[in-house]
């Protein structure tokens, strides 16, 4: 296992970018690009990532980046991969870097299409559970009970499970990660780079202005999400599901997860949930752990 000291010092997200202070996207992308290296082409749909690159004629991303339409991140990655393949440049990594809005909702059909075509690329959904860039609207990834500007009494529906939808495409590699575990994220990105075919990764990205917490707590929030079991870190490889870090103990029952209230109470978006909502959230989590416990024992 690689340690923090061994991570490369190369920076591909440059200083003086337009991200909010404490932004989780830049933490995730820095670590991701340390693993993938400079021979990477990124496609970015409409999202915070398109904005934080700064203004023309400058950009803060030091690798080739294409900003494209909201629904087209995976489709254009397919095109780039095909063009590179035709030129014999198969050593270049194609990375689609989209938010949860561009993956769960708007980009879903393009993602599904690219996975079905077997495009050799890495699709990363950094999941901040809302449309942060346009001012915090609900998305398919927003959890039950969370406040957004379009669910101002708390969301009444459950979030969908995109990683499961992706796994149903029977692709070689699916992984979820958290920005609070950079060595785990680095290892997964390295592994995804070596595998041929479509790869999907999802990274939890707590957004300080959207989730309503102090900007210094970004990483703490991502760590608590894992320790309370609200976010699970796993790898799905050759039909086998394995859990990493604290999620491993939570799923096999050897580790008592922290109470989910610890995570919820730190966020302003869950300020108005009732005791019934809390019960519902806990029930949903238990069901999810049970589902994954059974699934990890399948093969």
């Amino acid at each position: 296992m690689v340690s923090i000291k061994d991570l490369p010092e190369n920076e591909y997200v440059l200083e003086g970018n337009a991200a909010c202070p404490g932004c989780p996207i830049t933490i995730a992308l820095r670590t991701m690009l340390k693993a993938l290296g400079k021979d990477t082409i990124i496609t970015v749909p409409a999202s915070c990532s398109a904005v934080i690159q700064s203004l023309y004629p400058k950009t803060s991303f030091a690798v080739p980046t294409l900003n494209i339409a909201f629904e087209a991140a995976a489709a254009s990655a397919s095109g780039i991969e095909a063009a590179l393949h035709a030129q014999g440049k198969d050593d270049i990594t194609v990375l689609a870097w989209a938010g949860d809005g561009g993956s769960y909702d708007i980009g879903l059909q393009a993602l599904s299409g690219a996975l079905e075509r077997g495009t050799n690329f890495i699709y990363v959904c950094y999941n901040n559970q809302m449309y942060s860039n346009t001012g915090v609207q609900r998305s398919g990834a927003t959890p039950y009970g969370a406040w957004t500007t379009t669910t101002w009494t708390g969301k009444k529906e459950k979030q969908k499970n995109l990683a499961e939808i992706v796994m149903a495409h029977d692709i070689p590699y699916v992984a979820t990660a958290s920005i609070a575990y950079p060595t785990d994220l680095y290892r997964k990105a390295k592994k995804a780079k070596e595998i041929k075919g479509p790869k999907y990764m999802e990274i939890i990205a707590p957004c300080p202005p959207g989730w309503r917490f102090d900007m210094s707590k970004t990483v703490e929030m991502a760590r608590l999400a894992v320790e309370t079991g609200a976010w699970l870190m796993y790898e799905f490889e050759n039909g086998k599901l394995t859990f990493n870090g604290p999620s491993k103990g939570i799923i096999d029952g050897s580790r008592e997860p922290k109470p989910v209230e610890d995570w919820l109470r730190m966020q302003g978006r869950f300020k108005n949930i009732t005791d019934d909502d809390l019960k519902e959230i806990k029930k949903e989590l238990k069901e999810r752990w049970e589902f994954y416990r059974k699934k990890s024992q399948l093969f």
């Binding site: 923090i4 000291k5 991570l7 010092e9 920076e11 997200v13 440059l14 200083e15 003086g16 970018n17 337009a18 991200a19 202070p21 404490g22 932004c23 989780p24 830049t26 933490i27 820095r30 670590t31 690159q53 700064s54 203004l55 023309y56 004629p57 400058k58 950009t59 803060s60 991303f61 030091a62 920005i179 950079p182 102090d214 900007m215 210094s216 707590k217 970004t218 990483v219 703490e220």
Partner: protein, 81 residues
């Protein structure tokens, strides 16, 4: 087809250090060089030198480094006018 191209450079949004309200100050005597501040800095504003070197031209003062430091070697001090 002609399209607009931006070129990678530091300071895409200028010197973002001016956004800062609290300034991270490293106490070198406490630092154990675990580089946790470096890996979590959202701004890539910490450089790996002998000790973590904070680039105050670009540090936005989010305080992630101070919050994550396991030995509390980074103190957030209010910027003076």
């Amino acid at each position: 087809m002609k399209t607009t191209i931006s070129y990678p450079t530091k300071a895409g949004m200028g010197k973002t250090g001016s956004w800062r309200v609290f300034r991270p100050v490293l106490h070198e005597d406490k630092c154990i060089k675990c580089w946790i501040c470096w890996v979590f800095c959202p701004e890539s504003a910490i450089e790996r030198d002998e000790f973590p070197k904070i680039d105050y031209d670009f540090c936005k003062g989010c305080g992630v480094c101070a919050n994550e430091c396991p030995v509390n070697a980074i103190e957030m001090r209010r910027e003076e006018k």
